[in-house]
Amino acid sequence: MNRISHILLLGFLGFGCSNEVEVLIPQLGDGGFLSEARPLSDEQKARMDGIYSVIAGSDRFGTSVVLKWAGERLSIFTGVDVGQFVLLGGHLDTVLVFQGYWRKLVNEETGIVQFYVARDEGGRFIIGDTTGSPGAVIRMQGGYGDGNAVPSLPLVLEFQRAIAPELLTGDFHILAHRAGGRTADYLPASENTVEMIRIAEQYGATGIEIDVRLTKDGVAVLYHDGSLNPRLTQKTPLVGGVEDYSYIQLYAAIRLINGERIPTLQEALDVVLDETNLTFVWLDTKTEGRNIVEVMVPIQADILARAQAMGRSLEIRIGMPTQEVYDEVLRYPGYTDLPTLCELSIEQARTVNAGVWAPRWSEGTQNANVAAMHGEGREVFVWTLDVPQYINQFLIEGDFDGFLTNYPSAVAFYYYSQE
């Protein structure tokens, strides 16, 4: 019997198998060529944005990719396995050099990537020296590796066409779920953090959705789940939800998966305003029955006023995902003037005068309802679109003003690839 017990024990021990994995994204180095390179101007960067054919490396990254600068980072969006590149770059005279990492969000694949653009393969064109230039042909030659391996596998991109100008007007919002992506996607930062907000644009986001809860002492903070749990936090003695603790208790005792603190809504919106070019923030209201709307409105108003003073285009809307939150908004004096977003019916969106109606993606494209909302001057966002085929299908068949997604780079690939 002892032997049998041992067999059983071995089997049951399997229950402890952990799905924890560690995806070590290679760090962006500024050594080597990059330390000597001079930064590109906005005009020079704009010459690089476009759709590129993948001449070498298409087996891993597809036959075409989208290149688009976001601040000081060059992002590349692929149509395979939600692949994305984040690069630093600059120029040495008329030769451009780039270095960074690639990552596929649906699995654990990542690695280092390096590119250069030779003088007569687009270097002079990008820098602006068109004397004797062969034209607007840009050829990015380089290599990639798996993990921390030397990037020795060939990767060659060739400029195919520019992104259609009508796609760059900002009328379509690529909204990154939970400030940029889920913690489960092994991004460099945890979901719903200021660290994630700072990098959201690198992944193609033009706006973000963040989850707002109210602490026991009435501080609006960012946190998704109804409980403090190992999916989102490091080990902690606290049990229960964010609502069960004061902000100072959470500040002292909680570290999110990547070591960050739970941020306040004020901190998050300050970062959006001061450190990004994001144009939309969707506040997903999670706490019910605590008058959270009364706490959110002054913060929202403060940031919007500062944005206006800066001449900055920024929308911040209070989301109404449930009837309880909807009722709370209805009780707020002057609610029809509040910038809000309604996830419920179109009738409720009208009643509360929400500027955005946001149905769930599983309800389909709903073109008739979308047209009705547009006719009333409301925008329509759909959530949460993650399946690449659906993303493409909704772009082709729908008429939405924005997608909420965990994979903004996938939306960016399909959106900017449109002709």
């Binding site: 019997m1 049998i4 017990s5 067999i7 059983l8 024990l9 089997g11 049951f12 021990l13 399997g14 229950f15 402890g16 198998c17 952990s18 799905n19 924890e20 994995v21 396995d81 939600v82 649906v106 699995n107 654990e108 889920r182 489960a184 789940d225 109804g226 749990n229 190992p230 999916r231 149905p359 769930r360 993606w361 599983s362 309800e363 389909g364 494209t365 993650d386 399946v387 085929q389 659906y390 299908q393 965990n406 994979y407």
Partner: protein
């Protein structure tokens, strides 16, 4: 692999559950066994019920509690000539259902038996709740090998099976999407213990560890991950 105190308590629970039963167990004979790869006389029909509890990774499930529902199964084995066995199974979670039909062959040497089998399963599910109007279906093949030893007071069966997805389709409203067909989805290893409960009724306690990419009952969550996950299942069954 990471083990925790909570997991060890569960292990002790199972061992404790087994011990009193084994002490009072009588000599069992093959007709009472189901998962053990027994030689079934031609025309012999055996039935079993089971309920399975899976621990789905939080990455996938997040706060969607409805996917945590247990899976109920009814299974049958029918003896054919030449040590062949016809296997059938219906699994249901109300919103998810799977029908499996398979053929197996058994080799016996004293108390040690080995069985090989191949099962073909069709699964489907539908969910209309909170704005969802979704459905899904697919085909999965399960080639497997079982090895069992009849100790007399109980029988222990170890089993390994592959998970080969031949088709997977999801629908929402009038939209249809088919993801990758014909892909290797992973494997599962299981240990099952069968022993008499009372009279000719037998109790099965088992554990299965899946190492797969797509766990079909999670389709309502439209998981986009293309990674292997460990998904443990606890099995409690009764031989009818």
């Amino acid at each position: 692999m990471i083990c925790t105190r909570k997991h060890n308590i569960i292990i002790l629970f199972f061992v404790a559950l087994l011990t009193p039963a084994s002490v009072r167990a009588q000599q069992i004979d093959s007709p009472g066994l189901f998962h053990y790869p027994a030689l079934l006389p031609e025309g012999d029909l055996r039935w079993a019920l089971a309920v399975e509890f899976a621990k789905i990774p939080e990455d996938i499930i997040e706060e969607a509690a409805f996917v945590r529902a247990p899976m109920f199964k009814v299974a049958a084995r029918y003896g054919l000539p030449e040590n062949l066995v016809l296997n059938g199974q219906i699994a249901t979670q109300i919103i998810n259902n799977q029908f499996t039909l398979g053929l197996g062959w058994v080799y016996a040497r004293d108390q040690f038996h080995i069985g090989v089998d191949y099962g073909v399963a069709y699964w489907f599910g539908s969910l209309e709740i909170q704005g969802f109007d979704n459905s899904a279906n697919g085909w999965i093949n399960y080639p497997g090998v079982s090895a069992g030893y009849d100790f007399g007071i109980l029988a222990v069966t170890a089993r390994g099976e592959l998970n080969l997805v031949t088709s997977l389709s999801t629908f929402t409203g009038d939209l249809e999407i088919s993801t990758d067909n014909n892909f290797f989805n992973g494997y599962a290893l299981s240990v099952l213990v069968e022993q008499p409960l009372y009279r000719q009724k037998y109790l099965t306690l088992g554990f299965r560890m899946n190492h797969i990419k797509f766990y079909w009952p999670t389709w309502p969550l439209f998981p986009t991950f293309n990674r292997y996950y460990y998904i443990p299942e606890f099995i409690v069954g009764f031989r009818l």
